[in-house]
């Protein structure tokens, strides 16, 4: 999880700097939102080891779970 968060920070700094140079404010906002979502998913996945997988959740909706 630490490596993932470090990757997110490094990539964000690199990309946001380029977008700032081009004055792309809207792009920065959407990019930041996407990175926050990705970070949240990553923290959830690595912090909660007993979670059900995405497939299991969807398959249970259609009665194909165990």
């Amino acid at each position: 999880m630490v490596y993932l968060l470090i990757s997110i920070v490094i990539l964000s700094l690199w990309d946001v700097k380029k977008m700032k140079d081009k004055n792309q404010k809207k792009d920065i906002v959407i990019y930041s939102l996407l990175m926050v979502m990705v970070g949240t998913l990553g923290v959830y996945y690595f912090s909660v080891p007993d979670h059900d997988s995405f497939s299991k959740i969807l398959l249970s909706f259609i009665g194909q779970g165990e």
Binding site: W14, D15, Q24, K26, S53, F54, Q64
Partner: protein, 362 residues
């Protein structure tokens, strides 16, 4: 002229489509065809042709008067701003799920066949790092690289098919009777679920030139898909029979493993695996590009390059979160993946076409 240098042709877009279809086709077609249609399963691609030709004509009609648009623009134009963006959002979610799925399948193939004790993250990080670099380089470079690999892969595929022919037994393929008609129709479900990726190529349609040739290159692609599909199913079902092929994982690799030329040249499945890796790179890269194209259209952003970072990171995490094991992955593909592909790839474009004609938007 200068603007068109940053675009690809419709022919190149079709080559991208044909290359990315290889990976899921090799994995899914033999198992589904053998399981549902049994001995007659090798005829499945012929039954799947008619709906796919219909789809090609639908795409031609959608872009007839919209040479510079992409599929996102058309969805918003035909359905209106809010319903259009809602549909686009659904496409975005589904394509992100598919991206995670294909990254996971890429890793699972190595874990199953060659390197079972290697951490999965090694495979996913490797392919996503290459994809990150390739997609940021742009569509034109990706398309040109894929054209080269497409020719090479076709040659290797045909070569391996010819080597397999000595192992094919006619009793595994014939007889085919009228009782096989309905099972064959049902077996097209897996084929159409993969061929449904054709409309998705047009999410970056604003970077595709000469869309008036969609019908021409689409029909040529249809012929190629049918021939390759037939070859794939003949060499798998024909070699080991439907009852074995329906039960094994990676039937194509198992068939290639059995090739032995004069008892001297053996173990050539590494050649097939190498090219399967390349097709996986293409499908993951193209899906990444589709996703960043949709995000750019959905939020009216100025450029796509920076969006590759969050999308590849998402693909990494989601590929791990998607399923606990191969069984869940296979169940997901069978009960959710393929039906939703047919919905998004066939049903929605057809609905767009009908509504577009009624509202006189196309």
């Amino acid at each position: 002229m200068l603007a068109s240098k940053k675009k690809i042709s419709t022919r190149q877009a079709c080559v991208l489509f044909l290359t990315l279809v290889y990976s899921p086709a090799i994995r899914l077609f033999p198992v589904f065809a053998a399981d549902i249609a049994e001995r007659a399963g090798w005829l499945g691609p012929i039954f799947a042709v008619v709906p796919f030709i219909g789809l090609v004509f639908v795409m031609q009609s959608l872009f007839k008067n919209e040479k510079e648009a992409n599929l996102s623009d058309l969805i918003i134009k035909i359905m209106g701003k809010i319903p259009g963006r809602a549909i686009l959002f659904l496409y975005l979610l589904w394509l992100m799920v598919l991206l995670g799925l294909y990254v996971r399948y890429y890793a699972e193939r190595f874990l199953t066949s060659l390197l079972p004790h290697t951490p999965m993250a090694f495979f996913t990080i490797t392919i996503l790092a290459v994809t990150f670099y390739a997609v940021r380089g742009g569509l034109v470079q990706l398309a040109r690289t894929t054209e080269f690999f497409f020719l090479l892969f076709t040659a290797v595929f045909v070569f391996l098919f010819i080597l397999c022919l000595t192992s094919v037994e006619m009793i595994n393929l014939l007889p085919v009777t009228h009782y096989d008609f309905w099972p064959l129709t049902k077996s097209t479900y897996a084929i159409l679920g993969i061929w449904a990726y054709f409309p998705f190529m047009f999410f970056f349609g604003d970077e595709i030139n000469d869309k008036e040739h969609i019908k021409r290159f689409g029909l040529q692609s249809t012929a190629y898909l049918v021939i390759i599909g037939l070859m794939l199913l003949i060499q798998t079902i024909g070699t080991y029979g439907y009852s074995i092929i329906a039960r094994v994982s990676l039937p194509y690799i198992i068939v290639i493993k059995s090739i032995s030329v004069l008892e001297t040249i053996e173990r050539i499945e590494s050649m097939a695996l190498a090219f399967w890796v390349i097709t996986d790179f293409v499908i993951i890269s193209v899906f990444t590009y589709m996703i960043v194209s949709i995000i750019k259209s959905l939020f009216s952003l100025s450029e796509k390059k920076s969006l590759v970072s969050p999308v590849t990171l998402f693909a990494f995490i989601f590929s791990l979160y998607l399923a606990r094991n191969r069984l869940e992955l296979a169940e997901f593909s069978k009960y959710i993946g393929l039906p939703l592909n047919i919905f998004f790839g066939f049903a929605i474009p057809f609905i767009l076409f009908v509504i577009g004609k009624i509202r006189k938007k196309i």
